[in-house]
């Protein structure tokens, strides 16, 4: 009986573990699914004629002749739209005052929407900002804009018990009987001819500079900024971290000061990252004046502080795990302690140290809070190497947050945001993969 109960207990334990693993994989899938599927949308999408025109005019990219031909065809298709608009404007002038008051704001709205869909209207002054010069570059966004043109969105608050209901009214009704009425049917039927969507693989999303605050994608400054920040943090943290670990594991006497030091390191590892950010601002910028304002240098230094405990801990563990016999052998041959550390201990501990380094590299690449106060700006140019000493930079983690919350047209640039998320996730995954591979390779070399 007791044996039966024990077997049952064992089996239920196995069941619980399997459930836990399944649940974890499921949540991972739920998390990664949208990141990959929506992130891929930044790279592969149906691009319109506006996209190809933008690439040609801004980056001098693409088959100029083919694009010019396409643009001519598109303009031809758009002509009726603009004709209807001007015809209606003429009609509007002859209308009676009350009808005019009713329709004029609606016309303004439609013209705005048309500008967003197709770019600036003919006869207008050339807009300064790129987003006003070009229409929708992505077919999915164009379809959404079309919906806004076709239907007027209203909120019905008559039912006091609910929060209000969204009511969509076809604008065709508003303009019934006018010369603008056919516009809506025309747009709906001919949107493809107006924009010519074509499936495009836009890998240059990664390497383009961002035009007009991310409206058109291009995240090279962010990638480069993340790279500089991470590299700087590693350059600062690795030497300090390894030296500290060597000191702690080999040379520090086991006294009160050493244990206090260890407690400090553990505490440092638990400090919220935003506090590191504030500290970086107060110390590196306001006290040490590393730079006049935010800079990559100050951000790297702050990130270095953040990952220092991880590197120290991982390296110390790796050094301690080296068999005592290696040390004895080296010392018995007349190696000084420092020589022993450099020639025997460090090489043998290398796999563990590398793992720690690469894991903290992933952390440094993905941290947002420490760079808000010390390094990150929303929009910027790709920096030259020497500019990192004094200039701030955009960076992937901060810009993801920025695009989601502070951008003036959050809805318009959602695809860029997801592209950044995917890029960052892939970057961190790649780093971790590299960690595993390097570790495997180095420890294989150690084992012979």
């Amino acid at each position: 009986m007791e044996l039966q109960a024990r077997k049952l207990f064992d089996r239920s334990l196995t069941g619980v573990s399997i459930m836990a693993i399944l649940l974890m994989s499921l949540s991972l899938l739920v998390l990664l699914g949208p990141i990959f599927s929506r992130g891929a949308g930044a790279f592969v999408f149906r691009a319109t004629n506006e996209f190809r025109r933008l690439n040609l005019e801004q980056f001098n990219r693409g088959d100029a002749q083919a694009i010019a031909e396409e643009t001519r065809a598109v303009s031809e298709a758009r002509k009726p739209v603009y004709e209807m608009l001007s015809a209606f404007e003429a009609e509007l002038a002859d209308m009676d005052a009350s009808r005019r008051r009713e329709l004029r704001p609606q016309l303004k709205e439609i013209k705005n929407l048309l500008r967003e869909l197709l770019g600036s209207l003919p006869g207008e002054i050339e807009a300064v900002m790129l987003r006003q010069q070009y229409g929708q570059t992505r077919w999915d966004r164009a379809r959404y804009k079309l919906g806004q043109i076709l239907f007027r969105e209203q909120w019905d608050y008559s039912d006091k018990r609910s929060m209000g209901k969204k009511v969509l009214t076809p604008r065709r009704q508003d303009f019934a009987g006018t010369r603008l009425e056919p516009l809506f049917t025309y747009l709906e039927r001919n949107l493809k001819q107006l924009l010519r969507p074509r499936l495009t693989f836009y890998w240059r999303f990664l390497t383009d500079r961002s035009l007009d605050s991310h409206f058109f994608g291009g995240i090279w400054p962010e990638i480069l900024g993340t790279f500089y920040l991470t590299l700087g943090a590693m350059l600062l943290a690795i030497p300090f971290g390894i030296i500290a670990a060597i000191y702690l594991s080999e040379f520090a006497s086991s006294g009160r000061v050493t244990s206090l030091l260890r407690v400090c390191i553990s505490t440092l590892a638990g400090v919220p990252s935003i506090v590191f950010g504030l500290f970086g601002l107060a110390f590196f910028i306001n006290t040490l004046h590393l730079s006049r304002s935010k800079s990559v240098l100050a951000g790297s230094a702050t990130l270095a502080l953040l990952i220092l405990p991880t590197i120290i801990r991982a390296s110390e563990e790796a050094l301690k795990a080296v068999p005592h016999t290696y040390k004895e052998a080296a010392l018995s041959l007349g190696a000084s302690p420092l020589r022993m550390v450099l020639t025997v201990l460090l090489p043998a501990a290398l796999p563990g140290i590398l793992t720690g380094i690469i894991i903290s590299m992933g952390r440094a690449a993905g941290e947002t809070a420490p760079i808000i106060f010390t390094a990150a700006v929303s929009v910027g140019q790709p920096l030259k190497l020497w500019e990192t000493l004094s200039q701030p930079t955009p960076a992937l983690p901060w810009n993801i947050y920025n695009l989601a919350t502070e951008h003036q047209a959050v809805d318009e640039i959602r695809h860029v945001q997801f592209g950044m998320v995917l890029t960052l996730v892939l970057l961190v995954l790649l780093l971790n993969l590299a960690a595993i591979l390097i570790r495997a390779r180095v420890s294989k070399k150690m084992r012979g």
């Binding site: 004895e328 052998a329 018995s332 041959l333 007349g334 190696a335 020589r339 020639t343 012979g448």
Partner: protein
Amino acid sequence: MIQSIPATTRTAPASAEVREAHVACQDFSFYYGDNHAVKNVTLDFSSFQVTAIIGPSGCGKSTLLRAINRMNDLIPGSRTTGKLIFDNQEIYGPRLDVVTLRRRIGMVFQKPNPFPKSIFNNIAYGRRLHDHQGKNELLATVETSLQRAGLWEEVKDRLEDNALSLSGGQQQRLCIARALAVDPEVLLMDEPTSALDPRATARIEDLIAELRGRYTIIIVTHNMQQAARVSDHTAFLYEGELIEYGVTARMFTKPREKRTEDYMTGRFG
């Protein structure tokens, strides 16, 4: 009561230069904190001969051995009294350079402990610490050391292989070769065969016999037959005290002390 017998016979070293490789204890004690591990030992090790230190577990024989090249320095809270002499210098004296001492007194450990490096780099390690030899010179040193350790024939075609790919017995001979490469005068061996099978053990014992006369060898062993086979002199330690020291042949046939006889006949230990 404890008799010190000075080195009786001294074999001349095989090499042309005469080296002073004299190790001696004078009223030497070693403490781990409060634990008096080696008690007032006075003993003269015979130069260029093999001396075995035997005794039951925990009798302080390894501690005494590791005091000679100061490997006990790694243990916190240890201290010594009395004198330990090597080449007319006090080993625990304030002016002694540990690095030079360890270069002149090599050590082979209980478990084979080659570095996770190539065979060549293992042997060359010590040499590289002390001088900068050219590639060819270094290769000659490696070959000589491996030949002296009787390993050259087995590994000459695979010097770049990882040392950890060798068998246990080969690894231990590699460790001996590694110690020989820095050209020491004294070789300390801390139960060098306890982790090896009988064949590998026999090979190491043959090797010790070959090295005799060139190096002063001090070997700690659990195995009394081994002590009888390889050593010229034997010291018997019990609870940190030196009970008896003498020529091996005599010790094993006519021990003077009752405790030595009891230990050797297996009544305790």
